[in-house]
């Protein structure tokens, strides 16, 4: 049985894979960051196809910002204007290819041969999902959510502390 959902899954899945592949196949920094953005947006659309509307829109929104920031950091550190230079930035290629292919085959095998049980057909509507997710966050998973918040705070402090210039503090 081929449904519209399956066709959309395959189309956007292939788009995600293609963009993901482009990330490591281009020599321009901005191009690879924006390819990653394309891959992430395709993943967000996959979420939308799988009827997780809130998560899909959230993914598309967050990744737009994050990958643009990645593009500017790539520019800052790579000194590679416009991908005009053609340099190779990879090592241990064979090992990586073997690892990538092996892991893909392993996971695919696990997915194919596992017994998944009954497949659900009905999901709550988008509005109902928002409500239920809110209930989940604020009731049962509140502790986890707060931990995530505190982790973000820790991450902010840690990243500022790491990125601070050493020279200035030594001068004083």
């Amino acid at each position: 049985m081929i449904s519209i959902q399956l066709i959309l899954l395959i189309i956007f899945g292939l788009a995600a894979i293609w963009f993901g592949w482009r990330v490591f196949m281009t020599s321009s920094m901005v191009r690879s960051a924006l390819s990653l953005l394309g891959s992430m947006v395709a993943i967000g659309i996959l979420f939308l196809v799988m009827e997780a509307e809130f998560l899909g829109v959230l993914q598309i929104m967050m990744m737009g910002t994050e990958m643009s920031i990645m593009a500017i950091f790539m520019m800052m550190y790579m000194m590679d204007p416009g991908g005009l230079g053609n340099m190779d930035m990879s090592h241990q290629k064979n090992v990586s290819i073997v690892a990538g292919v092996a892991v893909t085959i392993l996971i695919t095998g696990a997915a194919l041969f596992a017994d998944w049980g009954i497949i659900a057909t009905q999901v709550p509507s988008a509005h109902e999902q928002n409500r239920l997710l809110g209930m989940e966050i604020l009731k049962r998973s509140m502790m986890i959510f707060e931990t995530a918040g505190v982790t973000i705070l820790t991450g902010m402090i840690a990243s500022i502390a790491v990125a601070l210039s050493i020279k200035k503090s030594m001068e004083k």
């Binding site: 995600a16 891959s39 241990q92 292919v101 997915a111």
Partner: protein, 102 residues
């Protein structure tokens, strides 16, 4: 069934590409891109399990939110480390950072 398996195979291929990137690239920011791809694949898996196995369990969606947090944090801390490497050694090539090698 084929919907779930399609989603899982897409995630597996993305994970493989991400792993290849994270292992083969020499640039810190490119390695981070590989890790982001792997996390994205994990998120596809989580959403697929939610949609096709347990649509009533919203802790799965919660898990995706936590994965997104991890992604953002990985970005922030990774860029901080990259900035510091760039300040001290003028490059973010990981081939040239062997100070911890005994």
């Amino acid at each position: 069934m084929e919907l779930l398996i399609t989603a899982l195979i897409i995630a597996a291929v993305l994970f493989g590409i991400g792993l290849y990137g994270a292992l083969s690239q020499t640039n810190l920011v490119m390695i981070m891109m590989g890790i982001e791809l792997m996390l994205g694949a994990a998120m596809i898996n989580l959403v697929a399990f939610w949609r096709y196995l347990h649509p009533e369990a919203f802790s799965l969606q919660m898990f995706v939110l936590v994965a997104m947090t991890v992604m953002a944090l990985e970005g922030a801390v990774g860029f901080a480390i990259a900035t510091q490497r760039f300040r001290t050694s003028g490059t973010v090539e990981m081939e040239e950072s062997a100070e911890l090698k005994g």
